[in-house]
Amino acid sequence: MTAPRDKLGRPVVVVTGMGIMTSLGNGKTDNWAKLVAGESGIRTITRFPVDGLRTTMAGTVDFVSVDPFSSTGLSERMAELVTEEALDQAGIGAKGDFPGPLFLAVAPVEVEWPQRRELGRAVGAPDFTYDDLLRISGGGKYSAYHHRFMFGSVAAHLAETFGTKGSPISLSTACASGATSIQLGVEAIRRGETDAALCVATDGTVNPEALVRFSLLSALSTQNDPPQAASRPFSKNRDGFVMAEGAGALVLESYEAATARGAKILGVIAGCGELTDSFHRTRSSPDGKPIIGCMNKTLADAGMTPDQIDHINAHGTATPENDKMEFNTTSAVFGELAQKIPVTSNKSMVGHTISAAGAVEAIFSLLTLEHQRIPPTINYETPDPTILFNVVGNKARDARVTAVMSNSFGFGGQNASLILTREPA
């Protein structure tokens, strides 16, 4: 490892700290052990009643307590915990003094049902209008809810807790958000604006309305029993994704800064790319061109060719459309290699952590590089005969892995890919 700059003359961006939380547990050690063992974090929801719902399971994070509970509060707490883990590992800066900006992928925020119901009860009459709710909202009784439900509140809390520098950015690119947070950090370091960046992605939004919203779009699996078998990426009988919670944090640094302070380098963000699909709000362009372009841009950004990628951490949501589209587009980019490169979907076990997924899966990709072992795609009993990926089905596989492509595609035409390597190219 000698080159502080990449083929395009930009500072090489490395990872020196990682923190992760999913429905499998808290931290890298626990998550990795369960992931390679093929365990599922998907379970029947107990946080709220599921009567009347088509989908009754999710990958909830139930072992973190937040009081009073809100999805935004859970997102914030998870983000805090994974950031602590990442900073512990990186050993960068001082406590409460991180030497760089924060890029936070976070689910859109709004007032939630428990708080709305509290208002409804406070009106104290059986018949009322929205104006009555509005009338009793002021006076300071609910001022904490103003802060809680500001879009910028999670980022402001993290920035104040960890002492990140400047204006923290809260971003959403739907299911690609986690990858975008990493991309923003990489770009800031490459531009020379900072030597370090904290990239965090979090999503704690398994609540009744979020579940209903995705349900009404027919996006969710309804194979509720057993819940562990619901998420079936690349299988013929896949029927949708499974909502899940989780968070990931990465400390990014320039290679130069990391080596200068003797930090252990966990991996390299060799390339990032994104490309918008303007075809439809929820569906990919049928020709797949935006996704193909996204992967090609990412390869170009990394200065690499398809044959240098030896593992793909797929978006692999297990919706009928996504997985097929992902195979077709990957084939367009990788040719016959698309059927040889080992492919896996972490979502078979941890579900779809939505805003966090890009970061969670980047961290799993980096752990794959570290352990030279590819986690399985579980529930792969009936392969879809039209998806000819070399799926790492059901059992983890030891493999020589030097470069991983991790893909994220989201509603609103958001496509983002990352290439992660063990060492600078």
């Binding site: 719902l53 409804g120 904490a144 439900f149 500001m150 923290p168 009744p208 303007s278």
Partner: protein, 401 residues
Amino acid sequence: MTETASKPGQTEVWITGIGLATSLGEGLDANWAALQEKRINVDEKGFAPYIVHPLMPVTFDSQIPKKGDQRQMEAWQRIGTYAAGLALDSAGIKGNKDILSKIDMVVAAGGGERDLNVDTGVLTAEAKGANAPGFLNERLMSDLRPTLFLAQLSNLLAGNIAIVHGLGGTSRTFMGEEVAGADAARIALSRIASGESDIALIGGSHNGERKDLMVLYEFGDFNLKDKFAPVWARKDHAGFALGSAGAFLVLESKAHAEARGAKPFAKLSSVVADLARRKSPGDMAATLEKLWAKLPKRDGKGAIISGATGAEPATSEERGFLKGHAEFPVRSTGTMFGHTMETQFPLGIALAALSISRGALFPPNDSTGTEIEMQGAPTQIVVVGAGHWRGEGMALVEAVS
């Protein structure tokens, strides 16, 4: 502090397109005329006791020709998609597939409106005793429109702009209230200045005519009530009047603009932003001073366009900061357009660029003496955006020499 300033050897970034749809009207001429006439469009009755600056009605068909597209959006997205189209028109790139296929989009967005009938229906039924465990689930499953979710998602403003106007480059959505607008400009500027990008569409949109938003801000007693007053005259009657507006800008490297013969309104020289802790009085003003010091040297004919909200204590802190720079005539977008949240900062940049290109700052509209007349053409305008609760941003817009 995070900053973006053109460094030696970096390209100039020009503002080559502006799209405005506001409470004062649609397009640059209508907005400029209203500013000249000190005409403010407030509705003190429709949401009484709360005050809003309603959108001046526009014909959405002219920028969003497909009714199907319009139906897939709620008002905030329609306003934004409309204003984005105006900005592309203004830059002369509407329908230019070569450019639109690579344009980078950074949008500052909040979230979409809720269905108030559904919310009220659930709550009143519960007040009347509906308490079965699955009651909420069943009502939401039957009452929520499937497409409403897409009208609520923050990144679907950008998504709709891409679909309607055929944008195929990159797309990023920043959230976080007022400062998200500053950060959108900051990141787009730094990407163009460093050569990562040639051209970008940035901006935001806001529908202020929303009771669900008023509930959120009422939690913090931030809504202006009963009687309208200019932002600087609200000290004893604090609060903001939500405004409806879409403001989008096309930012472009000088070389890219020149190559296609595009003329600049102005150049965007620097955008800086920070997060003051706001734990004690003076914290926010100190951060504004730091940001001010970070901007490139101002030795031209300067002015300040402020996005002060009218909420306290932020507005008083900002006024204190402005007093320290009394040689700069100040204008408040909050007085004229209401508080448009994520859109306020892009709106400020738009008005700065417009003022520079028209050779005059628009007139003051204030009884407190904070805003003073300005003679002659401004060549440097600082846009100040301090959030009602968190986040501070500042930009320098300059005449192209």
